[in-house]
Amino acid sequence: MMHDHIELSLEQSLDHCIKCNICTAACPVSAVTDLFPGPKYVGPQAQRFRKDGQPTPDESVDYCSGCRVCNDVCPTGVRIMELNSRARAQIVEQKGLSFRNWILGHQDWTGWLACGPQAVIANFSATNPLIRIAVEKVVGIARKAPLPRFSTYSFRSWFKKRSNVRTFERSNVQTAKRQVVYFHGCSTNYYEPRVGQAAVEVLERNGFEVIVAKQGCCGLPLLSNGAFKDGRRYYEYNLEQLLPYAQRGIPIVGTSTSCTLTLKEEAPELLGMHDTAALMVAENTYDIFEFLRLLHERGELDTTFKPIDRSLPYHAPCQLRAHSIGRPALDILELIPGLRLSDTLAACCGLAGSYGYKAERYQIAMDVGAGLFDFVRASGSDLAVCDSEICRWQIAHGTGVTMKHPIEILREAYG
């Protein structure tokens, strides 16, 4: 186990736990299953029994989905999710990472293999019930869990081909025009390039030159499966690629709320990396709507929107809530005439990264999301909005409605 200042502050933070059980009452996982006894037990309570060189006392911590609702509601500021993540890493260190979790942690590899014209074959396999049953039996990935469809082209290939783009990657970054680095993440690159296309067009509309820096997976799929060593390699690669931009004060903007959270806080905190590079990249990283909201606060956002006369459900994903920046997408989309958004107020969609893909957790994930699905269905809308790809896939799976990233709605409003 690591002994950095975060570790020390975690130890101190667990002393702030007054055992009020507010976290247990808010936890969406312990609400639906006995397998997870709740954040208070596996976090601040079990932590007192986790010691170097000793077997971990309680493996139920692995049933924590990492949604961070506990952190959000704790009235005394205990960092419960970080305690749980480190406890899981300790288990992985002692027992190793399963093949299934290794696969789920490497979405960048599967994406790289399957994205492109060959996506047709990959998508056939991913939707073929017999293959899915076989995969569930052999690997342990739930047969019904909503695997995303691979795109026939990657976001990066689209971006490269655009004729009106003069710069790509690290050339010409010192030009005078306002610049922004776009962190697309694996899902935009391999599954949903349309999200990245909308982001680029919205940023350009507001006078930014968009740089698509070299980047790897943010590392979160590995970190959340307790594979800290592997996750660290990805994070360090990204730091190396992004630092030159951060040093020039060029903002790094992302559409995946989990990737941006990883760069801002998750990776440095879990891995105990607090050097200048990690700090600079963290401080220069923004969720795209957080960034647009800052522009708007300075009066610099183009607000010449076409009306969109619709009422849409909006779900704020757990990973966005962990940014602790409110509802930036609502703040900006509210500016579009005619558009009415209703916050689902749901704690979690259930899928929580790779959690709901695990065969033994599929039903837990669906039970966690049940209230959210009811809300979306009751709205009667055939379209709902959410910032996180994972939640979009799960909500679509649970309800059958089409899901969009809020940046796609904003792009539409620009006409």
Binding site: I22, A25, A26, G38, D72, L261, G326
Partner: protein
């Protein structure tokens, strides 16, 4: 982007935000976490100190004789108005409150002590210990910290005949952890309460009123009580539990929904760390967020972060006391030795409990010389100086009254 910000999501902050939202101000509530509501019993305690038999008269006396008391800033008419608005809000959410300021009701606690309350959820009404007759208290072994035999023995010793029994847990999918929220979810299911209701009828014997832990559902608690009354043949009442409090969760949800419906917004996980201002105006506050603080600029701010228990005030071993969000000055005894009276149960209470922010008649924070620190800030709830809410048993009444008043004042702030 929001022109009014409320700091704190306890009863004072929620009541203030409601006043602001209803005045069209679309407030943003920033809160460190969920807290005060989930820690409360759900009853509204207006006055339980000296003169507790007649709370309204005692309240008028406090307003008259103790101008430094937060109730004096709200005024007794203001208190009544705030409570009226509160009751209407609850009524509209089909979670009605009963009781009055004329006389406190004495309710049994989870250990069988008696506590006065002015307003109480209708789900607790039949718990009035002065109604006479034998009480049956029932609970589940699976629910921690609720022991019907202990509570019944303590009530009987005080001349209130009571019996305590444990119920068999109906067949449910869960096997392990049962907290208050899990029980509330179970009571939301008709089959579960059917089973409980039948057990109560069998165990009732001579009792006309049956007390259960306050976990009787989150969706329609009055409906659950009605069902259990029909099935058991007795009047049913809830007894507040240890936190997390289900009646407190109901309050939180009702307030949140009303505030959001009126255009307000709630942001938890966002502790306010510091503030900047100039020329007696607060300009911006900064909340904790991933990687960097979030800046919030607004025209008006309502501070309702609570006292020492709620985290709005901090103390340390040197005797220093400070207000955590805006850094407002606190008038405190010069040394830590003066925080406490010599005896634990001293009739005069302990000075440390009266610490807090001092305000003027417009609820604005003032310094020791009486000068207004920020003209666009109002302060409400347990962060205020001058009340001894533990002894005076007035936390919730004071929170609603000062929150409402502060919200109304800020509604006109430009």
């Amino acid at each position: 982007m929001r022109d009014t910000i409320v700091i704190g999501a306890g009863l004072a902050g929620l009541m203030g935000a409601l006043a602001l939202a209803e005045a069209g101000r679309k407030p943003l509530i920033l809160a460190k976490g969920q807290g005060a509501t989930h820690w409360t019993s759900g009853t509204i305690d207006v006055w339980g100190g000296d003169g507790a038999d007649r709370p309204l008269a005692a309240l008028r006396d406090v307003v008259e004789s103790r101008p430094e008391h937060p109730y004096a800033r709200a005024g007794s008419d203001g208190v009544e108005q705030a409570l009226g608005r509160f009751r209407a809000l609850m009524e509209a959410a089909r979670y009605s409150y009963v009781g009055s300021l004329e006389r406190n009701v004495l309710l049994p606690t989870a250990v069988g002590a008696l506590r006065p309350a002015a307003l109480l959820p209708a789900t607790m009404a039949a718990g009035d210990t002065r109604l006479g007759g034998e009480l049956l208290l029932a609970g589940f072994r699976e629910l921690r910290d609720f022991f019907p035999p202990l509570a019944a023995a303590n009530l009987s010793a005080q001349g209130i005949p009571a019996r305590g029994v444990y119920l068999e847990l109906p067949a449910v999918k869960r096997k392990l952890d049962f907290n208050t929220r899990v029980f509330a979810q179970l009571f939301d299911e008709p089959a579960f309460r059917e089973d409980v209701g039948r057990q109560l009828r069998a165990l009732r014997h001579g009792a006309t009123r049956i007390g259960l832990p306050a976990v009787l559902g989150l969706k329609d608690p009055l409906g659950v009580v009605a069902d259990l009354q029909r099935l058991s043949g007795a009047q049913i009442f809830e007894i507040p539990t240890l936190p997390p409090s289900v009646p407190g969760m109901r309050l939180f949800q009702i307030f949140r929904d009303a505030i959001m419906a009126a255009g307000g917004r709630l942001q938890t996980g966002s502790e306010v760390l510091r503030a900047t201002g100039a020329d007696r105006r607060l300009e911006a506050i900064y909340s904790a967020a991933a990687a960097r603080e979030q800046e919030h600029r607004a025209n008006a701010f309502l501070l309702a972060t609570g006292g020492i228990a709620g985290g709005g005030l901090r103390t340390d071993h040197t005797g220093a006391v400070w207000e955590t969000a805006l850094g407002l000055p606190i008038q405190a005894p010069s040394s830590r030795g003066e925080w406490f009276s010599p005896r634990f149960l001293d009739e005069r209470g302990h000075p440390v409990y009266q610490l807090g922010v001092t305000i003027d008649e417009h609820m604005r924070p003032i310094d020791s010389g009486g000068g207004v620190i920020y003209t666009n800030v109002a302060v409400a709830g347990a962060a205020l100086a001058g009340a001894d809410a533990v002894r005076e048993r007035c936390y919730s009444g004071l929170a609603l009254a000062t929150g409402w008043r502060a919200g109304q004042i800020l509604s006109t702030e430009s």
